[in-house]
C-alpha cells in the first residue's frame, strides 16, 4: 500500500472524530454554562452540586473516567453504546473545565455594573442574562478556544473504548501495514488540520460576538 491508500480509512476515522468532538463541545458548553452559573448562585445546594461535579471531573483523569463509564458502570446495570459513552464522558469533562471559565468570567464583570443594575431594580436573573453575560462572554472566548482544542485531543482516547475514530483507524492501518512512521505522521497532520479549523471557527464566533449589541462599533478601532 502506498501512503495515499491510507487516506480513505483515515478520513473515515476523521469524520467520526469531528462528529464526536463537535457533539461533546456543544453539550459541554451547555453544561459549562449551567454549572458555571450554578456556582455563582446563592443557593447552597445548587452551588454545592455544581462544585462536586466540577471537582470530580477536573480532579480525575479522562481515561479513568472513560473506562469507568464503559467497563464499571455496566456492572450496576447502566450501560451505553461506546459512542454515547464517549460523547457523554467528553461532554462532562469539557463542561467541568468550561464551568470554571464561565464562573471566572462572570466574577470578572466589574462590580460597578452589578451595583448599577441593583440601583435600577433589575432582578438577579435579568442582570445575569442582560448585563453580566454579554460582557463576560467575550472574556470567555480565548479560554473556550483552548478547551475546544483540548477536547479534540481528548477524543483520541475514545479509540480505546473501540470507537472507530481517527486514532483507531490509525492503529488498524498500522497493524496491517507496519508502516508506523507514515501512518502516525498522517494521523498527527489530520488532527492538526482539524485543530486549525476549530481555531478558525472559534475566532469567527469571537469576531461575531465583538460586533454584537454589547459592543458599539465606536468602542473598537
Amino acid at each position: 500500500m502506498t501512503w495515499t491508500q491510507y487516506l480513505a480509512p483515515l478520513l473515515k476515522g476523521a469524520q467520526v472524530t469531528v462528529m464526536i468532538s463537535l457533539a461533546s463541545i456543544t453539550i459541554g458548553a451547555l453544561l459549562a454554562f449551567a454549572a458555571g452559573i450554578a456556582r455563582t448562585s446563592s443557593n447552597r445546594i445548587i452551588s454545592g452540586i455544581a462544585f462536586v461535579y466540577i471537582v470530580l471531573f477536573r480532579g480525575t483523569p479522562l481515561l479513568v473516567q472513560l473506562f469507568w463509564f464503559y467497563y464499571a458502570l455496566p456492572l450496576i446495570g447502566v450501560s451505553f453504546d461506546p459512542i454515547t459513552t464517549g460523547i457523554m464522558t467528553l461532554s462532562l469533562l469539557t463542561g467541568a473545565f468550561g464551568a470554571e471559565v464561565v464562573r471566572g468570567a462572570l466574577l470578572a464583570v466589574p462590580p460597578t455594573q452589578l451595583e448599577a443594575a441593583r440601583a435600577l431594580n433589575f432582578s438577579k436573573t435579568y442582570t445575569l442574562w442582560h448585563i453580566s453575560m454579554p460582557q463576560a462572554i467575550i472574556e470567555m472566548m480565548p479560554s473556550f478556544g483552548n478547551l475546544a482544542i483540548q477536547n479534540l485531543k481528548d477524543t483520541a482516547l475514545v479509540s480505546l473504548i473501540s470507537i472507530a475514530d481517527l486514532t483507531f483507524q490509525a492503529q488498524s492501518m498500522r497493524n496491517i501495514t507496519l508502516d508506523s512512521a507514515t501512518v502516525y505522521t498522517l494521523t498527527l497532520l489530520g488532527y492538526f488540520i482539524i485543530a486549525l479549523c476549530l481555531m478558525l471557527i472559534v475566532r469567527f464566533i469571537e469576531m461575531k460576538l465583538r460586533r454584537g449589541p454589547a459592543f458599539p462599533r465606536s468602542a473598537h478601532s
Binding site: G59, P61, K153, D154, A156, L157, S180, F192, L196
Partner: protein, 230 residues
C-alpha cells in the same frame, strides 16, 4: 494475586482494601513517570523558548511551528508515534521512558509558552537599565530577568504539573504498569472493574487537590517582584 498480594472479592470493601497495596505500586510508577516527564518538559520548554527568540528567522519559525504542532495534536498519537517509530530508527527505550518522553515532549510545548510569556512580562525598562549599566546578556538574564520571571511562571507551570499527573494513565496503553494499567489487569482477571477503577479515581482526586494546594502555597511564598537578591 499480583506482586505478592492476593485480593478478596467477597465484599466491595475487602476488595478495595486488598488491592490497595497493588495500586500503591502503580501510584509509584505514576509519580515517577510524571516526575521524569515534568523534568523533560521544564528543560526542553526552556530550550524551545530561547530558540524561539533567536534572531535567525528560520530557527524561530521552525520552533514556533513545531511547538504549535505538538500542542494541537493528541498525546496518545504522539505516544504511539514514539513507541512504534523510534525502534525503526534503532532507538530502543523501555516503555516507561518512551511514555515519560512523550509526556515531556507534549508538555514542553506548553511550558515554552509559559516561559515566553514570563520573559515578555518583564518590563522593558529593566532591560534598558541593565544595558545602561553595561551588564552582559548573560548577567542580565541571570540577575535581572530570571528572578523577576519566576513568580510569574510558577502558577502556570504548577497547573501543568497537575495536568500531567492526570495524563499519566494514557501510558498504560503502551504497557506501562501504572495505577490504571494495574486496575485494568485486576479487572480482566476478576471481571470486577467497578471497584478497581473507582479506587484509581478516588486516589487521583486527593492527589491532584493536594498538588494544587502545594502549588498555591509556593505561589504565595514568592514575592511578586521577584526572587529577592541582597
Amino acid at each position: 494475586m499480583m506482586y505478592g498480594y492476593a485480593w478478596d472479592t467477597s465484599t466491595p470493601l475487602t476488595f478495595a482494601l486488598s488491592i490497595l497495596p497493588i495500586l500503591g505500586i502503580g501510584l509509584l510508577v505514576t509519580l515517577q513517570a510524571a516526575a521524569v516527564g515534568y523534568a523533560i518538559a521544564l528543560v526542553l520548554g526552556l530550550v524551545l523558548a530561547l530558540l524561539r527568540r533567536s534572531k535567525i528567522k528560520i530557527i524561530s519559525w521552525t520552533v514556533a511551528g513545531f511547538t504549535e504542532f505538538v500542542r494541537d495534536t493528541p498525546l496518545l498519537v504522539q505516544l504511539f508515534f514514539l513507541y512504534y517509530v523510534l525502534p525503526d530508527f534503532g532507538i530502543i527505550l523501555p516503555a516507561f521512558m518512551t511514555g515519560a518522553l512523550a509526556l515531556g515532549l507534549q508538555y514542553s510545548a506548553y511550558t515554552s509558552e509559559v516561559y515566553r510569556a514570563g520573559i515578555d512580562a518583564v518590563p522593558r525598562g529593566q532591560w534598558e537599565a541593565a544595558t545602561a549599566l553595561n551588564l552582559t546578556r548573560r548577567q542580565t538574564y541571570r540577575d535581572i530577568v530570571v528572578p523577576q520571571m519566576i513568580p510569574r511562571i510558577v502558577p502556570a507551570l504548577g497547573n501543568y504539573l497537575v495536568s500531567m499527573l492526570k495524563e499519566t494513565p494514557v501510558l498504560s496503553v503502551v504497557t506501562v504498569l501504572d495505577m490504571l494499567g494495574l486496575a485494568n489487569m485486576i479487572g480482566e482477571r476478576t471481571f470486577e472493574y467497578l471497584v478497581p477503577l473507582s479506587m484509581v479515581g478516588l486516589i487521583f482526586l486527593p492527589m491532584t487537590l493536594i498538588c494544587s494546594a502545594l502549588i498555591f502555597l509556593v505561589e504565595r511564598a514568592l514575592p511578586k517582584s521577584g526572587i529577592p537578591l541582597r
